[in-house]
Amino acid sequence: MGEMQHQWESERARFLPMLLAIIIFSVLALVNIIYLIIVTGRRPEDDEVHLTPYMDRIYSDIQLVIMIFTLSMWFYGLVNLLQQYRYSSSRGIVGMNEYLMLILSGTLTVIGSIICGLILLSMVRKIKAKKLLKHSLIFAIFHGISKFIKSFFDDSRFSHFPLTKSLNRRQIIFTVASGSMVFLSLVFVMASRSFLVGLFPVFIESIIIFWYFSENKRTFEEINQGFQSSLQEQIKSEQMKVDLITNVSHDLKTPLTSIISYVDLLSKEELPESAKDYVNILADKSGRLKNIVSDLFDLAKSTSGNLTLDMERLDLRKLIEQTLGDMEDEIDRSDIRIRTLLSEVPVHIYSDGKKLYRVFQNIIGNALKYSLQGTRVFIDMVAENNIVSVTIKNTASYDMDFTAEEVLQRFSRGDESRTTEGSGLGLSIAESFTWACGGKFKVEIDGDQFKVKLEFPMVG
């Protein structure tokens, strides 16, 4: 008795601190968990719920399965360990050391609680974000299926197109009716064991097919008619646009011809000094007006898709060199130097050389006009993956307080106050011509750097 008492006392003395520790740590763990549950998903800077990447992307039901699996593995492991310990200690076999058991069960608990804790917090975040149920595999599957079925019957996409809507509805009716006829004929044959009875649904099916085809034919004809008339409408409006451009062009150019001619005649007359100045201004401005009108019609023709193109295989590197040679006087007169980095070998593209010359002339002309004195204009050419890109970079002499989109808008000019020449259409024409010639045109503004990037597909 005394020995039992003694053993009990010694066991108690050993287990009491352990129990106490368990209680204290459990309370601590509980407090910790509650704290984490409260704070998870929150950030000090706002009131939003933030989901954690990776962890919260796992579907809730999969998380739950993992958690249950982990918990049961943990429980199973603990029970197993305890049994082995009991078994070995009751037999007095020196096998399972007490410390080994503690370390193993501790490790098991740590792993289990990390996994379960992470999953628990993730689920808490999802609850906070009201996404726990929606973000589950089961929900996703059902949602996908219901969406698929809905899309089958949904004709909201065709709400503006009554003809295709009726086609779609007819298709649904046809499919469902045909399906049920097949099913009916099977049932009939099975029930009556007679082949003839089974023919009845086939008869109905053929009526359905006849109806389906004749109705569809009518709808198709209507669609064709609508398409045809809209095509004709488009051709007509296109023709009107061309006529408008031609007529307006003629109506503007005719009086302008008179103005320029008579100003020229006037300038040859004996005039007082002040009148001569006025005539010079008139000559200057009418000349500028001539350029603007001509640019304007080039642009109108090009943007309305009525540019006559003369496409041929040409060497883009050569074209740039020719353009630079052609503009040499202009370049020499300016304070700007041109630095080129062109391809070593010919770069062939399929394009309209005359139009492309206008493109490069306008871009380089602009660069010369609007560059800071003493700076350089860089022309770089890179041929890669059958695409050749040319970049023309310059440093602006003024504050470019506009965006790349704005600069391409018609009549926008970099520096309104300083320029008196040019139509302000140069870059727009360059852009429009480039697209018409089968290239791409992009403007980038980076601080004081003004960059035009052109791209063309190469040909062999």
Binding site: T246, S249, H250, K253, T254, L256, T257, S258, I259, I260, S261, Y262, D264, L265, K268, K290, V293, S294, F297, T308, D310, E312, L314, D315, L316, K318, L319, E321, Q322, T323, L324, G325, D326, E328, D329, I349, S351, G353, K354, L356, Y357
Partner: protein, 233 residues
């Protein structure tokens, strides 16, 4: 030589009047017509040496008028038009026009073109038909390889040795396109290495000497991205 008589046909009276005054100031005699029919009538009763013809005219348009004139006469015709497309120019020139000027035109350029056409028309025959062996003739360009002389519409033009050689080479092969490398190797007799700019600059200089409007050359053309050629006229 009498003063040349020029027929100006344009339905816009102010433009016709302006052209008249511009040409009279240069010492030419001018008759005006305001549509195609009037122009044809005026040709019957007058001995005309050159016609300035607007394309868009009422009653009978410029192109039809030109075709009727070409049935009987070989005098130079300069077409005037507000249409500036290349295709319009090519159409006009292929139908028998000698030159094509787009509205609004530079008055001095029109006068220069009239003068050039007249000089060629009036001086043709006594000069060019002679010893044409060493002479290369393309339109109004006349290049004498032996004497190393060039004249444009009868006016002598001074070229540098290299410019002359380039022009001679291109004129000998009028209508053919040559790359800068080909031109360089023929003219400089050296291997060409990045010569595009050199050749282009020479071409531009030649153009400034022989063309009335170097920006819209009639003879010496750049085929962008390919090479250079003398138009076969």
């Amino acid at each position: 030589m009498d003063t040349a008589k020029i027929l100006v046909a344009d339905d816009d009276r102010e433009i016709a009047g302006a052209i008249e005054k511009l040409l009279v100031r240069e010492g030419y005699e001018v008759i005006k017509a305001y549509n195609g029919m009037e122009a044809l009538d005026a040709l019957v009763s007058n001995q005309v040496q050159l016609i300035v013809l607007d394309i868009m005219m009422p009653k009978l348009d410029g192109l039809s008028t030109m075709m009727r004139i070409r049935d009987s006469k070989n005098i130079p015709i300069i077409l005037l038009s507000a249409k500036s497309e290349d295709s319009d120019k090519i159409l006009g020139l292929s139908m028998g026009a000698d030159d094509y000027v787009t509205k609004p035109f530079n008055p001095q350029e029109l006068v220069a073109r009239v003068r050039s056409q007249l000089r060629r028309y009036l001086q043709l025959g006594d000069k060019d038909s002679a010893n044409s062996q060493s002479k290369l003739i393309v339109g109004g360009l006349c290049l004498d390889a032996e004497k190393a002389e060039l004249s444009v519409d009868g006016d002598p033009v001074k070229l540098t040795a290299k410019e002359f050689k380039i022009l001679e080479f291109l004129m000998r092969n009028a209508g053919c396109v040559f790359s800068a490398e080909q031109i360089y190797e023929r003219v400089w007799q050296e291997t060409a290495y990045s010569v595009e700019n050199t050749v282009m600059v020479h071409i531009r200089r030649i153009r400034e000497k022989i063309e009335i409007n170097p920006k819209e050359p009639k003879y010496l053309k750049v085929v962008w991205g390919i090479g250079y050629k003398i138009e076969k006229i």
